[in-house]
């Protein structure tokens, strides 16, 4: 079982020569040179780079007729390798070969699919470092590109468990011989934020254009995965970008020209509505495994009919959504919006509204959004219908987006704490509304399924789910008063005042 100690490169662009590396190491080890191998390395990660964030690397390696999956990283303390036969990418955790790699990755990648991040042919040559018992105590691997476009050659010292000190010794010999240690930060230079350089005194238009451009980029990035139905999160993230765009247009009304409101708000409402039915059905499908645990009298298999019904409904809803996303209307929307944002960023005269600074717009927007939450929340009574709580949830989302969109120009500490306060309230309102929507939808599904001749056992099981949702919704309603009082407590109000909201 190996773990990477350190990657090395030749200093000043010199060539890495394995023979001289072997000669350097021969001072202290018996060095055995293994035959070189041509390896195709297919690096995998989720679209949002969850493996990278967890400091894990997953590769599908193909050498001759042998294929294997190799997982490496500190979390697994050593390299884990499993044979793999023609895996197809992208794949969800459930599609990975049963075994340690799936066990290790499933909690990390969750519902996201593994996609190909890079695909390179490399020539790998290995040295084994042996002790006096002819036992391998460390390995050194030279990984060279087989094509001109691939990443540069790299030498890696690999430690074996129980012999880490000897890998350290090998590393010291090589660095003393002039090899340079690769700093991992070199490969992952920090991304430059599009809002970098924008401060409270900057024109509000500048901030709005940068944020809206980011959301457009997120929509574009997620579109291929959404069209290919790679995993449910492409649609989710696409919708988040659409929602943020809509909210930013609304929050920026004071600074943006009227045309933005008149033309683009309805355009993005159409886009949001186009994607809503599939997302709703995705949520049911994702929640179904948890829902089966709620059953008391019914069997988990009684929900199989519901699962099939959801799949049929989703497949039909997806056809309609994909048709919309491949339509001329959608293409015009994306191209027109890109053009508008370019002109906005360039300060085009016809796209200039009231001249406001980003800081002033942030204060006004946050104040307005906070007041609406405080006012609507205070009006909620035990008799308030579910729609009132739903409306309050929308107001909370607006405040949340305001805190996010204007993040570059407001104080970060109070902002983070305000978001945390708001999140507790949003969680309660979200649970309340989810229960409401799911309860009503289950009734509709049951009626449709009964019309199709579904067995009574399935409908009875769905009845149990509705009962459970009813209880959950009551619980969420009971928690609302406490959550709202927590959100409007004096310390929270003071924080909001610092950010521009509250009185």
């Amino acid at each position: 079982m190996t773990s990477q100690v350190q990657a090395l490169r030749a200093a000043d662009g010199a060539t890495l020569d394995l023979a001289s590396v072997a000669a350097t190491l021969a001072d202290q080890f018996t060095v055995v040179t293994r035959p070189s191998q041509l390896i195709r390395r297919v690096r995998l990660d989720t679209f949002d780079r969850r493996l990278h964030a967890a400091e894990l690397t997953l590769e599908h390696q193909v050498a001759g007729s042998q294929e294997r999956l190799v997982l490496d990283g500190p979390a697994c303390s050593s390299t884990v390798t499993v044979p793999a036969t023609e895996p197809r990418w992208p794949v969800l955790a459930a599609g990975l070969p049963d075994g340690p790699i799936r066990t290790a990755l499933a909690p990390v990648i969750g519902i996201r699919a593994l996609l190909v991040v890079s695909d390179e042919k490399r020539r790998v040559r290995r040295l084994e470092l042996h002790n006096e018992d002819d036992k391998t105590v460390a390995r050194v691997q030279l990984d060279e590109p087989a094509t001109a476009t691939a990443a540069p050659p790299q030498l890696t010292v690999l430690a074996l468990r129980g012999y880490e000190d000897l890998a350290g010794r090998a590393l010291r010999l090589l660095t003393r011989a002039g090899l340079r240690q690769v700093d991992h930060r070199e490969a992952h230079a920090a991304d430059v934020q599009p809002t970098a350089g924008i401060v409270a005194t900057s024109p509000a238009i500048e901030l709005l254009a940068a944020q809206l451009g980011e959301f457009l980029a997120a929509m574009r990035d997620n579109l291929p995965g959404l069209l290919d139905d790679v995993d449910t999160e492409f649609l989710h993230d696409f919708r988040v970008a659409v929602r943020r765009t809509r909210s930013t247009l609304k929050l920026g009304r004071l600074a943006l020209p009227e045309v933005m409101h008149r033309r683009w708000e309805p355009a993005f409402k159409w886009l949001g509505d186009l994607t809503t039915p599939v997302r709703d059905l995705d949520i049911y499908e994702l929640d179904l495994p948890v829902m089966t645990t709620w059953l008391v009298a019914a069997e988990a298999t009684d929900l199989d009919e519901l699962a099939q019904h959801l799949r049929r409904r989703r497949s039909s809803a997806r056809r309609a959504m994909v048709q919309g996303l491949r339509s001329a209307r959608f293409r015009r929307l994306m191209a027109g919006w890109h053009d508008t944002l370019t002109r906005l960023a360039e300060g085009s005269q016809d796209l200039t509204g009231e001249q406001l600074s980003a800081g002033v717009l942030a204060q006004r927007s946050i104040r307005r959004a906070y007041r609406r939450v405080a006012r609507d929340g205070a009006a909620i009574s035990p008799e308030s219908p579910a729609e009132h709580l739903h409306e309050l949830r929308k107001r909370c989302k607006e405040l949340r987006y305001a805190l996010e969109v204007f993040a570059p120009v407001i104080e970060n500490g109070p902002r983070k704490r305000a978001v945390a306060d708001l999140k507790s309230l949003q969680d309660v309102l979200g649970r309340f509304q989810d229960c409401e929507v799911q309860r009503l939808a289950l009734r509709d599904f049951a009626e449709e399924m009964m019309a199709d001749g579904t067995p009574a056992s399935a409908v009875l099981a769905m009845g149990e789910l509705i009962g459970h949702l009813d209880v959950e919704q009551d619980r969420a309603r009971e928690r609302f008063d406490g959550a709202f009082a927590g959100f409007t407590r004096p310390s929270g109000r003071q924080r909001m005042q610092r950010l521009g909201g509250g009185r």
Binding site: M1, D134, K135, R161, Y163
Partner: protein, 245 residues
């Protein structure tokens, strides 16, 4: 994590060869595998070219003064680690006797690496002792190599009686014929008799083959240095039969 012990009251029946070869095969198919060489003779440790030394000896492990993770050694094979033997293991009975829950301690020690390994092989010394009781209590499968001879049959009866007397969870006992020589009439008769009396005996028979003896020369598992040999095929077949799901 599944624990599989190669165990027999008798010595020289192929316990270590079986543990080493099956552990190699488990690792080859991607299972994170650990082999704990519990025999102070340290034959498995020798076969993997690891030095038979554990810092603080068996006492430090049993008393938890030193975590077993600190004593683990990578072998030359992917996914396969070794917890080496140490000559002090000859006193392991005494060390175990001084602990609370003295028949469960080895299992408790293995719990600490349960997240790191999918399968653990225990290569046991030939005896009936407190170490054996611990092995029985910690194992899911007790794999018993049997030379098809009368004394082996007797030893197997003693072993099954010993296991049946263990309190609490008991492992599945799976015997298989090892070092069998079909040219010998007695071997053929004993194999026939065992199979007909309903004992849980694997179909695979591992013959007495010189390539298995050569493991000590090559200091490697048979499928690693003679992958197409008959012995390698026998161990693959045996692994397919006993492999935990």
């Amino acid at each position: 994590m599944k624990v599989l012990a190669t165990y027999n009251i008798k010595g020289g029946v192929g316990k270590t060869s079986t543990a080493v070869n099956l552990a190699y095969l488990a690792a080859r198919e991607g299972r994170r595998t650990l082999l704990w060489d519990l025999d102070p003779q340290a034959a498995a440790t020798f076969l993997f070219r690891v030095r038979p030394r554990v810092k603080g000896g068996g006492r430090a492990l049993v008393n938890r003064r030193r975590p077993i993770e600190a004593a683990l050694k990578a072998t030359d094979f992917e996914n396969l680690a070794l917890l080496p033997a140490d000559f002090s293991y000859r006193n392991m009975d005494l060390e175990l006797d001084d602990t609370k829950k003295r028949t469960r301690r080895l299992g408790q020690l293995l719990d600490s690496v349960s997240g790191e390994y999918d399968i653990v092989f225990l290569d046991c010394p030939p005896s009936v002792s407190l170490v054996s009781e611990n092995v029985v209590a910690a194992s899911d499968i007790l794999l018993v190599p049997l030379i098809p001879a009368t004394l082996s049959m007797r030893a197997f009866e003693q072993l099954t009686r010993f296991v049946s007397e263990v309190e609490g969870r008991r492992p599945e006992v799976v015997a298989f014929f090892s070092m069998a020589d079909r040219r010998k009439r007695m071997h053929r008769d004993v194999i026939e008799a065992m199979r007909s009396n309903g004992s849980c005996v694997a179909d695979t028979i591992v013959p007495a083959l010189s390539v298995i003896e050569q493991m000590a020369q090559h200091r490697a598992p048979v499928p690693a240095f003679a992958p197409t040999s008959r012995a390698a095929r026998c161990y693959e077949q045996l692994w397919a039969e006993v492999r935990p799901t």
